[in-house]
């Protein structure tokens, strides 16, 4: 049942694309119809072989992803080997500890930072993407899109160093404008937000541009013909259509920001409390004796938050895909 609807937009778009050439229109739907008939007989013959071809991926996934997942699930609920009882007994202490004190502050700090940066990036990214998508110069559009592709993937250590060189205590902009006197410091919550936006805004531009290109000119013309102003068009036509994509993009950015580790680690160390930093700390043995499995519980906390976020994202993604078909 779940696979049934998917081929329809695929064939439809194929037919649309070939629309310019009369000869190429008919084969696509025809093949879709006839393909149904001979399939069942052949499927059984090819079926087992098909599963065989997918077997390496399945095996890899079970080992590479399943084992760590099991390790987290078991570890988070048992005592570690350095515990007085020798380890392996069931306990909920790890989880309770991971939601208290410094760890709770860090989890909350991560959520706050992710919410704030994702919100700003969404609000900034939409007008930027619109300004680029409606630009008359094709070269400019392509240049911005490729730059966004690079910058969206440009998290991590190099980004941190670039901002240290720019806005750090001895950074070029800081020293030449005397920003330290005005209370500026890069190694704070707001400093980190400024850095995160450097890859979140391009990520938003990439995510939202297909949706913006899906806005049909006819809708705008129809609205204008009915006497709608530009504001009314955006308020009643464009934004409602874009809303699933926007929310989906927001959730994606939240996830990216929440999971980020390298930038913060290279830049601020642990002076800004973040859950990913705490996990890194705990994994390198920086925990009390007997709490060796605390890191696994922290990992579980993080997965739970990310799961909640993804549970919002996936339906939105499906919804917005409908408009782009």
């Amino acid at each position: 049942m779940t696979t049934a609807p998917t081929p329809v937009p695929a064939n439809a778009s194929a037919a649309q694309r070939g629309g310019g050439v009369p000869g190429s229109v008919s084969p696509a739907p025809a093949s879709a119809r006839t393909a149904k008939a001979p399939r069942p007989g052949r499927r059984r013959a090819g079926g087992s072989r098909a599963w065989l071809a997918a077997l390496p991926l399945l095996l890899f996934f079970v080992i590479g992803f399943g084992l760590p997942a099991v390790a987290i699930a078991i570890g988070a609920f048992t005592t570690s080997t350095d515990a007085p009882d020798g380890g392996g007994t069931f306990t909920t202490d790890n989880l309770t500890n991971s939601l208290q004190g410094a760890y709770w502050t860090a989890l909350w700090g991560s959520v706050k930072l992710s919410l704030l940066t994702a919100l700003i990036a969404t609000v900034v990214g939409l007008p930027l993407a619109q300004a680029v998508a409606t630009s008359r110069f094709r070269m400019f559009r392509e240049a911005v899109m490729s730059a966004s592709g690079v910058l969206a993937n440009f998290g991590g250590v190099p980004l941190a160093f670039m901002f240290v060189a720019t806005l750090g205590n001895a950074g070029e902009v800081t020293t030449s404008l005397g920003l330290t006197k005005h209370g500026w410091s890069l190694y704070t919550f707001s400093g980190l937000s400024v850095v995160y936006l450097y890859f979140l805004v391009p990520l938003m531009v990439i995510t939202i541009t297909p949706a913006l290109e899906g806005l049909k000119t006819q809708w705008r013309e129809a609205a204008a013909n009915n006497g709608a102003t530009s504001v009314q068009y955006w308020r009643h036509v464009a934004l409602p259509v874009l809303l699933p994509s926007l929310l989906g993009g927001f959730v994606l950015l939240f996830g990216a920001s929440f999971a980020a580790y390298a930038t913060a680690e290279a830049m601020v160390g642990s002076s800004v409390p973040l859950i990913s930093m705490q996990i890194g700390d705990a994994l390198s043995g920086n925990v009390l004796v007997g709490q060796g499995n605390l890191a696994l519980a922290l990992g579980l906390d993080m997965i739970v938050v990310a799961c909640l976020v993804m549970a919002l994202y996936l339906p939105l993604q499906r919804r917005s895909a409908k408009w782009l078909a």
């Binding site: 090819g46 992803f65 987290i72 300004a131 070029e172 680690e265």
Partner: protein, 273 residues
Amino acid sequence: MARLINRIRFGRGLVLLVCGIYFAVPMAASLWFSIDDNKGGTTFRAYTELLNAPGFSDSLVLSLELAAVTVAVLLLLLVPAVLAARLGAPKLRPVIEVMCSMPLVVPVVALTTGIIGVLRWGPDYLQDTPFFQTIVAIQDPDFPIVLVIAYVLMALPFAYRAIDSGLRGVDVVTLVEAARNCGAGWLRAVFTVVLPNLRSALLNAAVLTVALVLGEFTTASILGFAPFSVWINTNGKSDGQMSVAVSMLSLLIVWLVLLLMSAAGRGRRTARS
């Protein structure tokens, strides 16, 4: 009407200007920082001494090797599975889809804790079994296979999406049926008909994976290996100027790689048509 158009132009210009400043200033400042000698002059010391910096070439080579192996493993695992789902077993498709979205849900740090959890089983429980040797072998610092496993998992969602959207534009079933009717065997149909049609999708998947592996820091640093990004970080504590120089270079390299690969994809496509 003219006023409205003027206002839209102005708004667009303002947005582009502000964003342009935000994105250009750190790059310009970093460039200046990397050649500033603090006496008002310029020096290219950070760039010229780079090749002789301890560990630079080793870590770069390790990162490139990891990237190459990750792309190879990823495509070898993913492409047969995706094609099989299209051609023979439609029931397989939701399974693959779910499998390829799962790594998105798990933040990299959390995945790394899981991996460490598994690696700890070695000394804790498996001391006398052959599994112990395996666990030691995949952590070889010269070529940590455990990182390849982690990277393949991380790249899985992006690569799957790239290949899946590529497949959407190609009617693989008809193509293969046509090839089979013309007497081609399964392998021949896949290699000479299907894969050439997917070239740009495969290229996209490879590009995304390479970019991901070259920039990845979290897993490598927590597990204690030293590919390029980890080297930049360690080195930055001692020589800030050189690390900023390397950061600029790595941005340039990633950009060039992406440009070259997309140009290669485009060139082939036009050459064929």
